[in-house]
């Protein structure tokens, strides 16, 4: 049972980040209460260093820890995205927690732990590790959701997320147990091998997979496992929501991809039908309900559900080797587009939010176009990106995605996607119209890091849409050796 340096290399980013978080937990004790910015800075530094390590791993393909974790193009891609999300999450939170009076060092430590769990999720090649990673990323999020305690809505958000999340995790465990029962192994490669042998019970394997799907569906907020999303997104402190909406989704999709695409190709026929239905339902329900929302946080929550549906579309043809690579690369690309747009949009929400949950109605955005033209322009970019209109990353993402879905032969799904995008134009554009055409005196806060984040994400959303080539190539190579 010897471990070599290769093993450490595989999990180096994860180990580094976890260790950093542990150290930060101790260091934070010595940082006086009014100087918690230092903790934030240290946490961001940790993420940045880890990002450096991750980027240095581009191109390395290895397995380690007795086939329990893998380092490959896919994990590097996802890890990089997660780390960037973490940094953006801290940048958004820094001023926000101070302003809302909930600044505590633990915030950043928990966020680091959560990111490390997400990274582990992307690298796990064993169902046990998947489960541990799921817990590691979830528990800090439960706590963070309730971080504005004793504010009731936040408390409720944390409670709901925790209870429902625990329930969903239970499904993952149960499913894992059934898969283990069917194949006698929890290693993904082992499952593939066992599924090929005739003595394995396909039935048990399928049920196990179905239950695991429930758990992942919950994490990515796919309908019908989405019920928690609006309540939690609305109740949680906005900075947490911003991080959760991107991070948890990325990690959930990474796991979904890793587990289903690599371990259950044998079940592709059944799974494709189920994923098809889930994607369609998610797009329809998310977009339709978003129409009647008047609260921006709730609207974005439903929008996040809807986008889970779009990304799910990329997974539908995973059993078809001809289009699989392109399709999943498109899914990854869309995740990137979504992450940046999402952070930007939440950044604007944070800029307008005031204490005691004021300033969160869509009507509060009236007059933003006149009073803060730059902020309104940024928000316009994000809204356009969420609809999938030029010149934004969201459009490029949607073009790739729909192309892949059409190439996979899922005409019906593509049409549902289009119709729901049309519906989504209705509520996103309404925000734009409110900003530019309604009279109002919105007040915003000016915080350096917040403004920087919003500006940066807006620029990335526009510029990368004009030059998406390198990003798309990276996504394509990321999925190359996955299967």
């Amino acid at each position: 049972m010897n471990l070599t340096s290769q093993d450490y290399q595989v999990l180096a980013p994860y180990i580094l980040l976890t260790a950093w978080a542990c150290v930060l937990l101790l260091v934070d004790l010595f940082i006086p209460k009014e100087r918690k910015s230092v903790t934030a800075l240290l946490a961001a530094l940790g993420l940045a260093v880890t990002l450096g390590v991750t980027l240095s791993q581009v191109g390395i393909e290895q397995v380690g820890f007795f086939n329990m974790a893998a380092l490959d193009g896919f994990s590097t891609f996802v890890n990089a995205l997660l780390l960037v999300s973490g940094i953006l999450g801290i940048a958004l939170a820094h001023g926000y927690v101070k302003r809302m009076g909930i600044e505590r060092g633990e915030y950043y430590t928990l966020l680091l732990f959560s990111v490390s769990g997400m990274m582990l999720m992307a690298q796990a090649t064993d169902l046990i590790i998947v489960f541990i990673a799921l817990e590691l990323l979830s528990i800090p999020l439960y706590v963070l959701a309730a971080f504005a305690r004793p504010q009731l809505s936040s408390e409720e958000a944390g409670m709901k997320y925790f209870l429902l999340g625990a329930f969903a995790t239970g499904f993952v465990v149960y499913g894992t147990a059934l898969v283990f029962g069917a194949t006698g192994t929890t290693s993904l490669a082992g499952i593939v091998a066992a599924a090929a042998s005739p003595s394995t019970s396909t039935l048990l394997l399928t049920i196990g997979a179905a239950l695991v799907l429930v758990g992942f569906g919950f994490k990515v907020a796919a309908v019908p496992f989405h019920m928690w999303t609006p309540d939690v997104y609305q109740g949680a402190p906005t900075a947490v929501t911003a991080f959760m909406a991107s991070g948890a989704k990325i990690a959930g999709f990474a796991a979904l991809l890793r587990v289903f695409a690599t371990a259950f190709p044998a079940l592709a026929v059944d799974m494709t039908a189920v994923l098809w239905a889930l994607a369609a339902l998610t797009m329809i329900v998310g977009n339709v309900i978003a129409i009647s929302q008047t609260d921006i946080k709730r609207m974005l929550a439903y929008s996040s559900i809807a986008h889970a549906g779009y990304i799910l579309m990329a997974f539908v043809p995973y059993g078809n080797p001809a289009v699989r690579d392109v399709s999943i690369a498109a899914g990854l690309f869309y995740l990137v587009a979504y992450a940046f747009t999402n952070f930007g949009a939440w950044g604007v929400v944070i800029a307008l939010e005031k204490k005691e949950e004021k300033g969160l109605a869509i009507a509060d955005y009236a007059g933003l176009g006149r009073k803060h033209p730059l902020l309104a322009a940024a928000m316009t970019v994000f809204m356009l990106s969420l609809v999938g209109l030029p010149p934004t990353l969201g459009l490029v993402g949607k073009v790739y995605l729909f192309r892949a879905v059409i190439a996979g032969g899922f005409t019906g799904l593509a049409i549902i996607g289009v119709l729901t995008s049309l519906i989504s134009a209705y509520y996103y554009l309404r925000v734009v119209v409110t900003m530019y055409m309604k009279e109002g005196e919105p007040e915003t806060v000016r915080e350096t890091w917040l403004s920087l984040t919003t500006a940066l994400t807006a620029i990335v959303t526009v510029v990368f849409s004009l030059l998406p080539q390198s990003l798309f190539e990276w996504a394509s190579t990321a999925v190359l050796k996955l299967f």
Binding site: M1, N2, L3, C22, F65, R104, E106, L110, I129, E135, V143, F147, R149, P150, K160, L164, F167, G181, G184, S199, S201, T206, I207, A209, A210, L211, V214, F225, M227, W228, D270, V274, I289, A290, S292, L389, P390, P391, L395, V396, V399, F402, I406, A414, I415, G417, V418, L419, L422, I423, A425, Y426, L429, V432, V433, Y436, M437, K438, Q469, F472
Partner: protein, 966 residues
Amino acid sequence: MQDFILALPLLLLGAGTLTALAFSRSGWSASRLGWLLSLFALTSFLLILYAFTLVPSGKALTFTLPWIPSVGLDFSLYLDGLSALFALLITGIGTLVVIYAGQYFGGDASAWRFHAYTLLFMLAMLGLVLAGDLITLFLFWEGTSISSFLLIAYKFKDEAARKGAFKSLFITGGGGIAMLAGFLFVIHLSGGADFKTVLASGGFLRASPLYPVFFALIAFGAFTKSAQFPAHIWLPEAMTAPTPASAFLHSATMVKAGVYLLARLNPALGQTDLWFWTLSIVGLTTMLVGAYLGFKQNDLKPLLAYSTVSQLGVLVALIGQDTEIAFKALVISILAHALYKSALFMSAGIIDHETGTRDLRKLGGLRRQMPLMFGITGIAALSMAGLPPLFGFLAKETLLASATHPSLPPIVDSLFPLATVLAGALILAQAALAVWGVFLGKPADEKHPPHGHDPHFAFWLAPAVPAIISLLIGLTPVEPQFLVEFLADAAKAAYGDKVKISLALWTGINVPLILSIVAVTLGSLLFWQRERIRAWMTDFLPNFTTNALFDGTVSGLDTLSRTATRLQGGRLRVYLRILLLSAIVLVVLFNGIPRQISLPALTWNIEGLNGLRMFSLVMLTVSALVSVFVRRDLYAVIALGITGLGVAMWMALEPSPDVALVQLIVDILSTVILILSLSLIPRKLRDRANELLHSRRGMVRDALLAGLAGLVVAGLAFTALNTRPRESVVSPFYAENAKPLTGAKDIVGAIVVDFRGADTLMEILVFSLAGLGIYTLLHYATRKSSDRTREEPEKRLKPNTPRGVFNLPTSPMLHTLAYIMLPLAFLLGITHMMYGHDQPGDGFTAGVIISLAIAQWYMLFGYYETRRKLAWLNRNNMIAAGLTLAVLNALGGAVFGGGFFSPVDYGRMLRLPLPPGFYLTNSFLFEVSIALSVMGAATLILDNLGHPREEDLEADADLAALEEKQ
């Protein structure tokens, strides 16, 4: 680099936009800036003209810039006859509009914004018609939607304007999305996005079974953009825009985008029955509806807008035809309409600007005050009416010729001319209405006639240019050869084959001419009887507005959305129900459990069912039932605990002692934690919740759901038993390898600390994290709310009457027990750690057992007593120590053994005298670290939960309010 010239006009317009922005603070008047910016537009016009001379007749000039080569997407431009026709109209009229807008806003120094938007829009529009592939076209397509929104929203006064702007943005922007999807189908099928590929694969595209799908999507996009019925509602509403914008957007540019797209794709997608019928029906309906609605208007701008709608219908219907003459009519109509409509819009703006109103009922008799405007408007209106010798006459003649073409199918061959004549008559009446209402008739209010005079040169120049061109084309005795060739080129690109064009007004007495005379007569009649007919129309005929359809769809969606939101009421129980149900559905759907259960195959084997197993089964079932039906939550928790014990007992009989042990202690610990948590919730609130929980309807529903879930799980268990291999595939491996590889006799112990040691390390991390989380949440809140109560209880309560959980007094008997149990628990825990490798039990159970003993103290003595008596228990240190020890220990393996985590026997290494059976290995240390962190986290949880709360005033108030409501 010759083809780079195609990109130049776009760059130029981009530069123009930036220039406008750069002059934002210059204080330049709108007119001065307008003159400057018109140079950009004019140069673009000339550049395109020059570029077109480079294009060999019937061919195209292309310019390609790789965008995403790996997916075969480029940014490309394409210039042929068709795009040149549109591009020249856009930049030509654009130049005039920029000058005109400068005069319109006059000295307004803040109009730079409007100029910037106009140039941006021109850029998007020009890009749209110059686009060389479908994706580039889409980019600019949506660009026009967005920039036109900026123009429409430039000045707004009321809610209606906002709604109009939103509607136009949503309808045109949304249509673009559908169109994009259609494009993606086309790209997928034809294998490329550029027009050369697409147009070359026409036969293949038309034969595809997906043809109806992408045709519908693309047509939807084109129809919404070109304001075809029933999507025509946005165009009149967009008239809230400043007039220069209307003149530009709604005469030659934005609304023609759909027409351009259909014409462009006609060679690839056209010439099918579906194409013919859809375009004809939609186009002709739009033509009639637009003409009809226009005749009812009193405001000049909506009147012109509806006649535009009508004209767009004509163009769409023409593209639907598969005849040469139709495409001849198409190009002539496009040109004629762009000329007279822009002139009319700009004139309307001048009239509005000078007199302050556009209402035909208030205007009248202005021919003396504004003779020049009368002339310009008159010429343009004559062209609109389709009277000779103007260009509009030619357009109408060719249109009628195409409507009476012999190749039309039956029924249609009489309907087409009929509809065209009717629409022609209505349009003529409208043109007359406009001229008469403004310049000739008497003003409605004789005492207050409208005042106005001709504007200065630059203002009237803009409408005069297109009006005069309309006149010149009609009047020239010799056909201008370059124009004929140019139009023939454009028509050929749209038709896909050669089209012969002639611009002769007089072609002899034929059917079109006769129909034209009928239309003129009918139109004059309509105008003569306008008062009566319009009154009658208003009273009896419907409005043909599909606003109701649009609003209905939107509000229908909204209602649907609200209904669906109701499920999202915030109640956790509902969420859980949905989650559970969908999981059940998923499992059942996935594999049809019922399929697998074939009852005859069942063999009941009750041999192994001895008394103890029977007992544990009964205990399990009964306590599970009790936990559901008992009314008090506390009892339910206890019953649930008993269920757990039943499972533990079953496991012990199996025999798998390790699992039984863990199950037993975890079960007890969670029961304790549950009880402590319950004690935190005010009694009243709990009672209330229990009542709600046990309402009859809820009981039935929950029983059904629980029964269903139970059945599914039972089915699962059954299939699992039936289908999995009898012999474990895993156990033999561990049984064989545990001793030789790890030195452990207990397989479970070996798995936990050796085989999956890294997992365990991560797991204790997770467990500690949970403790940290709870601490973070509870600790801060406690400090906030209990600053006051912190010391008080200790003063109030005598030390010898400690109060336990729920603030109940506890008996001294139990206290003694607790004193004895704690050291015993430590002893037991230490044994577990020492012999965990060979016996059931390990560091985890050790930690939990000790925690349980501590929990007992919290239950019996209450928080303050316990904290006082067990002050040495510092949970934070324990967690830190546990985690640090775990890592150090693993590193120890690297130092003394074969690597991180590899086994090392320190006892043998240091030759320590140790009791038999106990080995001081790093496995043991690992067990210790596990125990420490588990203990730390568990006591952290207990400590925070056991902390008494002050009365929750807020919750009580809520409760009182609830009770009052009932």
